[in-house]
Point group: C2
Chain length 193, copies 2
């Protein structure tokens, strides 16, 4: 009789899941009013779906992203450094996740690979301050979501304040990237080019 009879419980819960995925920062009252149900019903739904309360969602997003931003932007090195001989060579590992890929194809964005290579190359150089001068790089194969990137960097030559580092990245022993980096340390003499 009444047109108030809204969508089914199942349908509502499906939508709720999606909504919270899209925007996790709404409280029960707001969510309840969206569906035109009581707060209690919405809380029941959340329970059944195992969705935590707003404040916990805040905590999760805050702490998760804090980590992410710290390790991605703030970090001196992209990936996990597992071996390093200053002035000689270094190895780092980067686990790829869905945030690094194109949603359509699951291919990892090039700049993540570049970032791993550049930052490792930089770590190898035994100089306080260094700056990427020139990089000649080549992506040999596409890299997919979940691939574990193993980067090996080797300092091959130093000429004046120029440091030449080669980096190779492989997935399952197969090489997927190579890059030649030249870093110019600008300690005091920013002379010749």
């Amino acid at each position: 009789m009444s047109n108030k009879r809204r969508v089914s419980k199942k349908e509502r819960q499906e939508k709720l899941k999606e909504m919270i995925k899209e925007d996790p920062f709404q409280n029960d009252e707001e969510l309840a009013s969206v569906f035109g149900v009581s707060i209690q019903t919405l809380r029941l739904d959340r329970m059944e779906l195992g969705i935590p309360e707003l404040r916990e969602r805040f905590r999760n997003v805050a702490q998760g992203n804090y980590e992410k931003v710290r390790s991605m932007v703030g970090a001196e090195i992209v990936g996990e450094l597992i071996d390093l001989t200053l002035g000689k060579q270094g190895i780092s590992i980067l686990e790829t996740d869905e945030a690094m890929t194109f949603k359509k194809t699951n291919i990892v964005r090039g700049h993540h690979i570049f970032s791993q290579a550049e930052s490792l190359a930089m770590a190898v150089i035994d100089a306080d301050v260094a700056l990427t001068g020139v990089a000649n790089i080549k992506y040999l194969k596409p890299i997919y979501l979940g691939d574990k990137l193993v980067a090996k960097a080797e300092l091959v030559r130093i000429r004046g304040n120029k440091h030449f580092v080669h980096v190779k990245i492989s997935v399952n022993q197969k090489q997927v990237f190579r890059g030649k980096f030249i870093f110019v340390s600008l300690s005091m003499d920013v002379d010749e080019e």
Copy 2:
């Protein structure tokens, strides 16, 4: 009587500011016990310093970084796209902030510049899926915190499934970076060279 007989108010507040900057996810009780003062004292300190309550700090970090992660990692393009002619050219602007720099020198990490260039180059290509093939890049000058990077990308040639894009980045009309990118669209034929 306690040898914990504390430091001055000023000193304590200085430390508090630092602590919250380092790890914003501690509540008043935990913070108070660190300094050996009562919760009320700590709250007074927070008030005087204008530091918001824990839950608001969560909110700020969550929402701030949500944006950041979305626009930095998830984004199809690094920087703000301000002009684009598919298959021809594009312009993007990237404002540099302290998260992108080395703390010691205030120099922007190379991979951010690379990311802006690569993603803009990619956006210009009128193909559903593209993958960085080869990039020959050169950093001409160090870029400092606060510099506004203006990137201009131009599609210069298409040969088969290879797309050649040149990108120039400038700060205040002075060029700081150039890069030549070759993208291989892998629509169906994943032929390599």
